[in-house]
């Protein structure tokens, strides 16, 4: 019994070590300038297109829901006009980065893992090596960088769309004057709100890129393996985003308030 647990633990630690080495290889290629820009652009387009519609839908929906719930609950305290800051701050500080990272890992992240995993099972990663080309440079870094660059942009889009959703509810359902809603929003947002969200989203984007590229690059077990590693990549991304969000939030609140 104990032997099994120890073996399992060792395997886990081993995999984590491997994942760290993998990230090291990726960063080495990036910082030594071996970046294929046309590939990065292609991947950015591809990953962005994959996720943008669902991100917009989801953030519009959350903005609307925030507005509705806000107007219902704040009314009880006679503080209806605080809908605007409620919507803006929730989106900027928490919901925008976290939700978008979830959606992104479920769409584009899963796509990265499935693509790299399929290439791996069809020996295309080995073939790249056989052709004298570093597969990390040719196949992984473009996907990794695209993810790191696109996800934060989508977070900003999600925040703007979400605030629009809140605004629509605010001026129709809660019948706040448009000018007041907008002024309230502007006044309530401090630099820290925007930048703490942005820092989070950059952090999440690296985590999602790392996990999804790693799982794809080391996929084994044929078509079944591709399915297994892809769902694992998404699940690990969710967990990693949630946990790191707790740590980041505590950190940001202590340093910045």
């Amino acid at each position: 019994m104990n032997v099994v647990i120890v073996k399992n633990l060792m395997a886990r630690l081993n995999a984590m070590g491997e994942a760290v080495l993998f990230l090291g290889d990726v960063l080495k290629v990036i910082f030594s300038g071996r970046v294929r820009f046309s590939q990065v652009l292609m991947q950015m387009y591809y990953q962005g297109v994959q996720s943008v519609v669902i991100v917009i839908l989801a953030s519009m929906a959350s903005g609307v829901v925030l507005g509705l719930q806000g107007s219902a609950t704040l009314q009880r305290f006679g503080a209806r006009e605080f809908i605007a800051p409620l919507v803006a701050l929730s989106l900027l500080r928490e919901l925008g980065p976290v939700f978008t990272a979830f959606i992104y890992s479920g769409k584009s992240g899963a796509g990265i893992t499935a693509e790299l995993g399929t290439m791996n099972t069809h020996e295309q990663i080995q073939a790249t090596r056989a052709l004298g080309v570093d597969p990390i440079e040719f196949l992984v870094v473009p996907r990794f960088l695209a993810c790191v660059l696109v996800l934060p942009v989508l977070v900003i889009i999600a925040e703007l769309v979400g605030m629009l959703g809140g605004y629509i509810v605010g001026i129709t359902q809660a019948q706040l004057p448009s000018a007041i809603y907008i002024r309230q929003t502007m006044q309530s947002i401090h630099y820290v709100d925007f930048f703490s969200g942005l820092i989070k989203s950059v952090f999440f984007s690296v985590i999602v890129a790392w996990i999804c590229c790693y799982q794809g690059f080391f996929t084994s077990g044929g078509a079944l393996g591709v399915g297994r590693f892809t769902t694992r990549a998404v699940a690990y991304s969710y967990i990693a985003v949630l946990l790191s969000n707790v740590v980041l939030t505590m950190f940001i609140l202590t340093v910045w308030g």
Binding site: E115, T118, H122, E123, Q126, A130, L131, G132, V133
Partner: protein, 242 residues
Amino acid sequence: MIKVNHLSKTLDDQKVLTDISFQVSEGEILIILGPSGVGKTVLLKHLIGLLQPDQGSIVINGKDITKFSQQQQLAMRKDFGYLFQEGALYDFMNVFENVAFPLREHTNFNASKIRQRVQEVLDMVDLHQVESKMPLELSGGMKKRVGLARAIVLSAKILLCDEPTSGLDPIRSHDISDLIRQVVKKIGATTVITSHDVINAFRIADRVAILHEGRMEVMGTVQEVSSCQDAFVKEFLQLSKV
């Protein structure tokens, strides 16, 4: 020149290759025959450093490639052509881009020169009007021929082909075998081919080896191997010939 010394490899607790030693001289064609699952692909992957041996060395042009770093291995492979058993074409690129890939990576040919060279090798492997097809739209045999085109497009100094004729019809097998011999003799490539195809192997090889249970059972010229008295070799050759 390729020199393999006492190479052994275990995969997943299974001893696949045991104490393999052989040499291939400059410009020679060695064909390794053997039943399915005997370790031909594993052996070939060692020769280009995709697998590392547990024991033994692989000396290519005087250097032991098992001691190379990753970067050294990548650099060395510019002089290699490798045909994967299943082709291993990039399925996100069409045929033209697949064959052009080594040229784009390792030469500074301009667009028209690349087009010309790709056309040339696709003609050689008898593929026409497929440049814009994706690999998923090709038959198994066509994929193999595109893979071969990609392997020879740079005029490799060392050519490794994993079953170039399996999955091809008899006429194509015959033609592709002739083509390989013609091409490698023209560019003087040192060539190792794995195969089940005894008839074509005996036609085009300079020397033949037979793998059995992870060991080199016999190795020599076609005459030498044909007259080998080993029971397995006799049976293998007899059953393979029509």
